[in-house]
Amino acid sequence: MNYIPHTREHVSEMLTAIGCRTVDELVPGQVPRAARLDLGDPMSEMEVVSYIESLAAKNAQTKCFAGGGSYDHYIPSAIGHIVLRGEFLTAYTPYQAEASQGVLQALYEYQSYICLLTGMDVSNASLYDGASALAEAVLLAHSYTKRRSVFVDGGLNPAYLQVLRTYCEGADIFISDAINDDVACVIQQTPAFDGSIKDPTHMAEKAHRNGSLFISCISDPTSLAIMRPPGEAGADIVTGEGQSFGIPKSFGGPCLGFMAVRSALTKKLPGRIVGATQDGSGRRGFVLTLQAREQFIRRERATSNITTNQTLLALSATIYLALLGRTGLRSVAHTSYRRAHRLQQMLHTRGFRTITPGPFYNEFLVETPRPAADILERLQRCGILGGIAVDDRRLLICCTEKNTIPDMETYAREASMQ
């Protein structure tokens, strides 16, 4: 497929205008020239489709009972139709506000939704993913408190912890095993990796007594439709993964990191922020604002190197929330909750002991009577992705509104077979 519009005549006219015989002359002699690349013959569009489809066919398509940071919620059809509109899909960061009001207003709506769901004052226009959003929150807390360590409450997604460790090593921040006077922030994930719902109030108070910020990290944000918002429970920063809101799992990416803060932290918030303002005639419009925080202005004094956000996914999430509304979102949350509890009951009676402590949302951890890998393999043969084997004998299982009762019955039956 050729995406270059020039005819041979155009090329020679243009070269003449420049005063060159060949394009080669445009490359200075100091640049070491590459041998011809070995990337195979060009493929036509039809060949590309056939090639990529053949790769897709090598993946197993299954009914999904896995979570762990990526959730199989239903994606309403309308989202895809809107985000594929070229005016959204092929735009870039809205530097020129007058030509970008669509994206800017959508991001303002996104920020509003995130604030309403989390109970926080201010949201940015999104970050890369849940894990790096958490790491950015720690950089923010360090910059705000000038303290050099972080305390992580148990139950954080192990991949998030690994990302946090990597960022902390880069930024000379330490992971502390106690809440001491060098702790910039205390992190608690809810629902936690094992699915348990935690009441952040206690941990938030403990953090604040110590002069630390409290960060609440949300794994599946559909839970916010029924859970008390972390902002009401004393969170200073709320971060999380927004993939649940109308974004395909897509083998783990692209994702949608979100971050919202109390107003006192607004100027430390990383990433893009959209604000409302007026034009000369008093008409309301939207712009990127507080840009003096950002790396392209502050350079080596910036508190984050974040450049872009995930606009198209923030747009997907915004359309998702608009389509579902409060009724639909609560229905998704209730159904996910009920299905997970139903499956947990079915498995319980078949000898799978639940080890998630206390109440859980749509994910729970069980001890398996047989090796977890064997159970997953058996389920896979029935077209079911049965969860995540946390170790030999523990399985993390997740339900959403997409998991039907018959599928759950198949799951329970097959999982308990010898």
Binding site: L37, V48, F88, C115, L139, A276, T277, L323
Partner: protein, 481 residues
């Protein structure tokens, strides 16, 4: 408010709510008392058609590559092939859970492995990580690796050298990893100044970060000397690959002497920018740094036909993504590379041709701060028209249905317009862009007042950014009561 008022374009979706109470009943489904519940969820309830109309209306107030030329310098706004969108949406990929066992995700792993191999061939680097979600994260990962590498060598290096033409992310990345930035000025040909570099380099310099071609649109001419000096001091050379669209098949960064580089998949490899993301920021390294790349890594098994995720790398810096990176973006990039195959050199050659042709057309209208042939983009200055002229010209372009170029960057050129046409624009479009710029330059002389208030043809006029920053309005709030 009447129904007609509500239909006014510019309303927020929240204004359409069909019932104005967000209060919820807490006694449904026996969930009550299990955990602290919320008592109010103030999201609007609206119909699907209202949603479609609302966001369709918003899309019409937006400009994309599909609308017209988008010559935003350093952003490589090229055409985004539609077939790649279809490929990313195939259920066999879009529906893949990241925790599917590798044996059931062979197609996805093969996509990643194939892309890594192609990027290695294009850049000359020995290994790639596809985890970074954006160029800036790739850069961050690169500097983290450098930091760990020197720690392993038992060396304490504190400085990173960056030219004054660099993107702001470079110094911000250095600072995030607690390095001190040393800025080297540009010389009169727009290269990193060699004398300045000689003074700055030393045994305490961890990394030299260079964008090549640089943000002025020029291939660095002293790279050989810079490489030799860096090697002498044991310093690593990092290439910011933002401008890789000028090098496909022309030159390989590893052969230019770079030890590490990131690629912006959304720039060079045509994945859509999506209004500012998601993108992809693959990081490539030479073999002596490979063991530091994040885990898991995609590997091909000995059989040569199956693929796996490898977590066992003791020296790895860890990870930078919740899963494996922006897989959907990798898939589009691979489809794009496959469509070109070895002919991908045409992309960069045409990008160079278009930029130099356009520069020739408009050089009479503006000042050219460095008089030499450019690579895939160039910078002109509108300083002859006075302060704020670059801004005014940019806004006036919107009136003529053109997206403005990057303005006021790089910082070292006053009243800068940074223009990158890309290879997918036709000669007619370039002629039209040049004609419009010449016309606006003429307006600037004849009737500068008209530019002060531009744009005039958009639904909204020039917005008050000072008011936006002073009187913060960053979200909708539910009406009281």
């Amino acid at each position: 408010m009447t129904a007609q008022d509500k239909a006014t374009p510019g309303n927020l979706i929240f204004d359409y709510d069909q019932a104005n109470t967000g209060h919820v009943h807490t006694d449904e489904d026996g969930i009550k008392d299990q955990f602290p519940e919320r008592d109010c969820l103030p999201l609007p309830n609206v119909s699907e058609m209202q949603v479609i109309r609302h966001y369709t209306e918003l899309s019409r107030k937006n400009y994309g590559i599909d609308t017209g030329i988008y010559p935003l310098g350093s952003c490589t706004m090229k055409y985004n092939p539609r077939v790649n969108e279809d490929m990313a949406r195939l259920p066999g990929f879009a529906g893949m859970h990241p925790h599917a066992p590798p044996s059931h995700a062979q197609g996805a792993l093969e996509v990643m492995w194939e892309l890594q191999e192609a990027l290695k061939e294009i850049t000359g680097m020995d290994a790639f990580s596809l985890q970074p979600a954006a160029g800036s994260q790739g850069e961050l990962l690169g500097v983290m690796i450098a930091k760990r590498y020197f720690a392993d060598m038992g060396e304490r290096r504190t400085r990173i050298i960056i030219p004054d033409s660099a993107h702001g992310t470079n110094p911000a990345t250095a600072a995030t990893c607690r390095f001190q930035t040393v800025t080297v000025r540009s010389d009169e040909r727009g290269n990193m100044d060699l004398d300045g570099f000689r003074q700055a380099i030393g045994d305490d310099v961890a990394v030299v970060m260079i964008t090549n071609p640089n943000t002025l649109g020029f291939y660095e001419e002293h790279l050989q000397e810079i490489t030799d000096l860096s090697r002498k001091h044991g310093t690593l050379l990092y290439c910011d690959g933002a401008n890789m669209n000028a090098m496909l098949g022309i030159s390989k960064p590893a052969e230019q002497g770079f030890d590490m580089m990131h690629l912006n998949l959304h720039k060079t490899f045509s994945t859509p920018h999506g209004g500012g993301g998601p993108g992809g920021g693959a990081l490539g390294v030479r073999s002596f740094l490979e063991e530091y790349l994040p885990v898991p890594r995609v590997v091909r098994n000995d059989s040569g036909h199956t693929f796996d995720l490898d977590y066992n790398h003791e020296k790895s810096v860890g990870r930078v993504h919740s899963f494996y990176g922006n897989f959907g973006i990798m898939l589009r990039a691979l489809a794009y590379i496959k469509s070109w195959g070895s002919d991908i050199v045409n992309v960069s050659e045409t990008a160079l041709l278009n930029a130099n042709y356009l520069l020739g057309l408009i050089r009479g209208s503006f000042d050219v701060p460095y008089d030499r042939r450019c690579a895939h983009e160039f910078v002109v200055s509108t300083r002859r028209f006075g302060e704020k002229s670059a801004l005014n010209i940019a806004k006036r372009m919107i009136d003529y249905g053109l997206h403005p170029p990057t303005v006021y960057f790089p910082l070292i050129v006053k009243e800068a317009l940074m223009i990158e046409p890309t290879e997918t624009e036709s000669k007619e479009t370039l002629d039209r862009l040049a004609g419009a710029l010449a016309y606006i330059a003429n307006e600037m002389n004849q009737n500068p007042d008209i530019l002060d208030g531009a744009p005039h043809t958009t639904a909204i006029g020039r917005l008050d950014e000072v008011m936006a920053a002073r009187r913060l309005d960053l979200r909708w709030r539910p009406p009281k009561g």
